[in-house]
Amino acid sequence: MGRYLLKRLGISVLVVFLVSVISFTLVHMLPGDPAVLALGSEASEQDVEAFRKEYHLDRPVAEQYVIWIREILHGDLGDSITYSRPVTACLAERLPRTISIGLPALILSSMFGIFCGIVSAVKRGKFVDNLITFVSTIGLGAPQFWLGILGVYIFGMKLKLLPLSGYVAPSENFGQYVYYGVMPILILSFGLLASVSRQTRSNMLEVINQDYIRTARANGLVEKSVVYKHALKNALIPVITTIGLQVRVVVGGSLMVEQVFNIAGIGTLIVSAINGRDYMVVQGCVFVISVFIVLVNFVIDLLYGFVDPRVRKSWR
């Protein structure tokens, strides 16, 4: 087991390194001079020089990368140009908001998605199956920003049930958090729910045709045990991967949802940082998010071993 984990860990570290290179390169391809953008076009030559020196913009690109990485290893993501404070501080302030929307969405959609997938597979061809398939088709095809706007229009403007936008932290007032958060969370869950339920459904249908399911039936096990014990575990193992992959989608989706509902989270931070050419913030956010996703996938790999004895054996 040790060797396998070590290998996976090595690959993850390698991917994190590549991610850092990519996010650095990506950000340095941004057009426009950050010094001019930050100080305004009327800034004096000296001010611009000083600014460039402060943010190491006068150094060669390769050196800038080394400086950046060195600082990351010390837990420092550099300073934001527009906010004039450490990027880590910006993240620390905004990350909890994004998590308080994203995590419930991820949990909700995974659980509900698996449930819908099972129901859909068991009631194959019946009305419930068609309904779930229809809803998940929409979930995969509708743009999230538009769903958000539609929600605002229907539940906010017409029915006046929910607020149009805004955010309250759960630690501040949980009731208000739910009141403001329910729509963003539901809309963020929708797409993920659709893909999880689709994946669960097709896996279940495939597993149901396997020989060992026929054996289980032939041995006189009741349908409940056949479906919920023998089929489900085999069907859910690949779904774990789907959920892992979808973390990426949730992160991307929260960017849109935050934009629509005016939540000051990581998503809005990135959008404004890109528009403001805030190198350090963009770089830092992209890096942190990607590392998080790599980490999630690493954990997924571990999880695989716990549920699938075949994988566990290959660890030894």
């Binding site: 060992y212 026929r214 054996t215 032939a218 006189g220 014990k229 549920v307 004895p309 075949r310």
Partner: protein, 334 residues
């Protein structure tokens, strides 16, 4: 000495409704199995021999499959009138089925012990986990698995094909079924393991008084073990009788063909193997006349004009066949 009849299937009909039309996989099939008897059902793939057995246990996927009619009498009850729940009590407990794919027929994510005790406890509601575990170890030992205590904790992928087949048999017969249906039990195994598995099944007959139906395309295999043989072709039984009758005095052209295509190990003579010409018929487009007509070396114009032949007694008592003509050992008669 009249033995009791354990399973009596009458006029069973099962069809699959596909895009290409109705496929009559089991077309008016009747057969019976006596106590402590080994019966073989022989035919090509697609002849409906497996579907017949799956229909007996009502394991047909529906849709597209459907049991259209007939009676399945087992220990005095017609199983076709049973509810789903009642059928669960029969499967694995009264009638067990062993499948041909030992590699894929066990659930890969549960241990042998887990799957074995689950079946035991499904049929013995009052059995504790400890008792089930003990019975499971005994069942594994009974099928000749060495170190059964340790094997209980193994996953299927940790065992060889022969071991898995044994484990699967152990699970199926753990509840001492009266009848075991073995669907191509040895096809996926190498020759030595094949013999061992057959011997194992034979020992069950002697020890527990179990009856066995062996479904196979391998006529050579069954001639050594079976008491009686049913030959199936295109969803119908075309000839039936004791093994000796069919071997020494085959009457249906298809049986003749089957015998001619099997190498005889115990014969010294150099015999030429003769394959049966043509391919199995398309079951979705069955003719009104005899379904073997297109491939039959003895076919004549009469065969094409008359309706499909039905089973009729020939020769000795208990020998039946379905052919308009009477072919004796390759010579036409009448």
């Amino acid at each position: 000495m009249e033995e009791k009849i354990l399973l009596d299937v009458k006029n069973l009909r099962t069809s699959f409704f596909t895009d290409a039309g109705e496929v009559k996989s089991v077309n008016d099939v009747s057969f019976y199995v006596k106590e402590k008897e080994i019966v073989a059902v022989v035919g090509e793939s697609g002849s409906g021999k497996s579907v017949t057995q799956l229909s007996v246990l009502q394991l047909i996927q529906s849709p597209p499959g459907k049991i259209l009619g007939g009676e399945v009498w087992f220990e005095g009850e017609n199983l076709l009138t049973y509810s789903k729940k009642q059928m669960c009590g029969i499967r694995g407990n009264g009638i067990s089925m062993i499948f041909q794919e030992p590699m894929t027929s066990l659930n890969p994510v549960y241990t042998i012990g887990n799957q074995l005790t689950e079946v035991l406890r499904a049929h013995h509601k009052n059995m504790t986990k400890q008792e089930a575990w003990k019975r499971g170890v005994e069942a594994l030992a009974a099928v000749g698995i060495p170190d059964p205590e340790a094997r209980m904790k193994n996953y299927p992928f940790e065992m060889s094909g022969g071991m898995r087949q044994r484990a699967m048999i152990a699970i199926s017969v753990a509840c001492n079924s009266r009848l075991i249906v073995a669907d191509e039990p040895t096809t996926a195994l190498d020759v030595t393991t094949q013999a061992q598995v057959m011997e194992l099944l034979l020992s069950l007959v002697e020890k527990n008084g179990t009856s066995i139906i062996v479904v196979t395309h391998n006529l050579g295999l069954v001639t050594r073990y079976a008491d009686r043989i049913y030959v199936m072709y295109a969803g119908r039984i075309v000839e039936s009788g004791t093994t000796e009758m069919l071997l020494t005095n085959p009457r249906h052209p298809y049986t003749l063909g089957l015998l001619a295509s099997v190498p005889k190990l115990d014969s010294d003579k150099e015999e030429k193997l003769i394959p049966i010409e043509g391919t199995p018929p398309n079951l979705a487009q069955m003719p009104e006349y005899c379904s073997f007509y297109p491939r039959c070396p003895y076919a004549c114009e009469e065969c094409r004009q008359k309706e499909a032949p039905v089973l009729r007694p020939v020769g000795e008592e208990g020998h039946f066949m379905a052919c308009h003509r009477d072919v004796k050992g390759g010579k036409t008669d009448g």
